[in-house]
């Protein structure tokens, strides 16, 4: 009987030792770039982008499709030194001829940093430089560079349109 109890305790030890006990609760682990959209003339006020879609170069699926928003969080590609997004807005009635296209390019260096057992490694983006194509619906943006991207508490870039 005593041995049976010992065996049971041993078995319990085996099975409980394998239970997963921690989950990564940070979201996201790797910071995304937060962009706020402001009004071009009245530069203190946020302005919604109508029927907004965004897609990264080389991707076939969009991050946002036909949404109305004044703030977006977009991931950067950690495997390259540059991520180029194509942004579409449509202020008119949604007809395809009225689509306005702009590209927004982010260049950076990457650095990997360990977070925790369950979350693994995150990517910190350093020396970010922003640029957009001329003659697009993006009239202006600020700042043009940031030193690193490693938090999600505030917007990183303001785009005026």
């Amino acid at each position: 009987m005593k041995k049976n109890i010992l065996f049971l305790v041993l078995l319990t030890g085996i099975f409980t030792a394998c239970e997963k006990d921690d989950f990564c609760i940070e979201n996201p682990v790797t910071s995304r770039l937060i962009i706020d959209f402001y009004d071009d003339t009245n530069r203190e006020t946020l302005k919604n982008v109508q029927r907004f879609s965004i897609i990264a170069e080389g991707k076939t699926d969009s991050l946002f499709v036909n949404t109305t928003s004044n703030s977006i969080a977009i991931p950067l590609n950690s495997l390259t030194q540059e991520t180029r997004y194509t942004l579409k807005k449509n202020d008119e009635n949604g007809a395809e001829v009225d689509d306005k296209i702009a590209t927004f390019t982010i260049q950076y260096d990457t650095e990997e940093e360990f977070v925790s057992r369950s979350c693994g490694f995150k990517v910190i983006f350093n020396n970010l430089e922003f640029s957009s194509n001329t003659n697009s619906w993006i009239t202006d943006f600020t700042p043009t560079t940031i030193i690193n991207l490693d938090d999600q508490s505030a917007a990183h870039v303001q785009i005026f349109h």
Partner: protein, 239 residues
């Protein structure tokens, strides 16, 4: 009659109480038992048999542990464990192998009153543990996904093999366990231990996920362990 039903019940309760009272003046004083049962003192050597079992059950674990204790007083034992462990920790975003040796040193106190010349134990113990090991980060993927978009951009599996040598941990350990003499001088024991990490030397830009002797290091710097031992007592003297 029914009006006094409860009162009558109470009367019986009191009556019973009186009947339980003992007369104290007729207890005969007994003579003290002078027979002393002697038990063996000596060095007890053995091994942990759970570790070879785990080694055969799990492909990511290898381990061996030698246990020893020496009885210094009726209820007090000096105890030590020396072992080797290798474990691959497979996590969601990393795969790493820890490999090294450890020693645990301390005391066991037997809280069990044995009958006659029996020599069983229900013990509590304390250990100081020290481990010296290497940890290799076999591969990892960066965590670039998020809940809203999933993995929009891919993450590659990095198979760099970062090896970190001469890492160490120090810890304190509280044990509770039993030992039973199943055959003459042959003991089977089981114990459970709770470990508190005192210091750890982590690899650069990574952490120690598993330390030999300590097992998995939990977020709160604590750990758990079990021992299932077979040991043989080499008797030196009988006291």
């Amino acid at each position: 009659m029914y009006k006094y039903f409860i009162s009558i019940c109470l009367l019986f309760v009191f009556a019973e109480n009186f009947s339980q009272e003992q007369k104290k003046d007729n207890i005969i004083p007994q003579e003290k038992d002078t027979v002393v049962y002697k038990t063996n003192y000596g060095l007890r050597l053995g091994m942990d048999i759970s570790r070879p079992i785990f080694s055969s059950l799990y492909s990511n674990y290898n381990g061996l542990e030698i246990v020893a204790d020496y009885r210094i007083k009726k209820n007090v034992y000096i105890a030590a464990e020396i072992g080797f462990e290798e474990k691959t920790s497979i996590e969601d975003y990393s795969n790493s192998t820890s490999k090294g040796n450890y020693i645990r040193l301390g005391l066991n106190y037997n809280a069990y009153d044995n009958w006659l010349d029996m020599n069983n134990e229900i013990f509590v113990g304390y250990r100081y543990g020290f481990s010296l090991f290497n940890q290799t980060l076999n591969n990892y993927t960066t965590n670039v996904s998020d809940m809203e978009n999933g993995s929009y951009f891919p993450a590659v599996l990095n198979t760099v093999g970062q090896a970190s040598t001469s890492l160490n941990t120090h810890w304190s350990e509280f044990m509770i366990g039993i030992k039973a003499e199943t055959l003459h001088n042959l003991f089977i024991g089981f114990s459970f231990s709770y470990k508190i990490l005192m210091s750890v030397k982590d690899p650069e830009n990574f952490m120690t996920l598993f330390s030999p002797g300590f097992n998995r290091i939990f977020e709160s710097n604590t750990g758990f362990g079990i021992n299932y031992t077979i040991s043989y007592l080499i008797p030196f003297s009988k006291k």
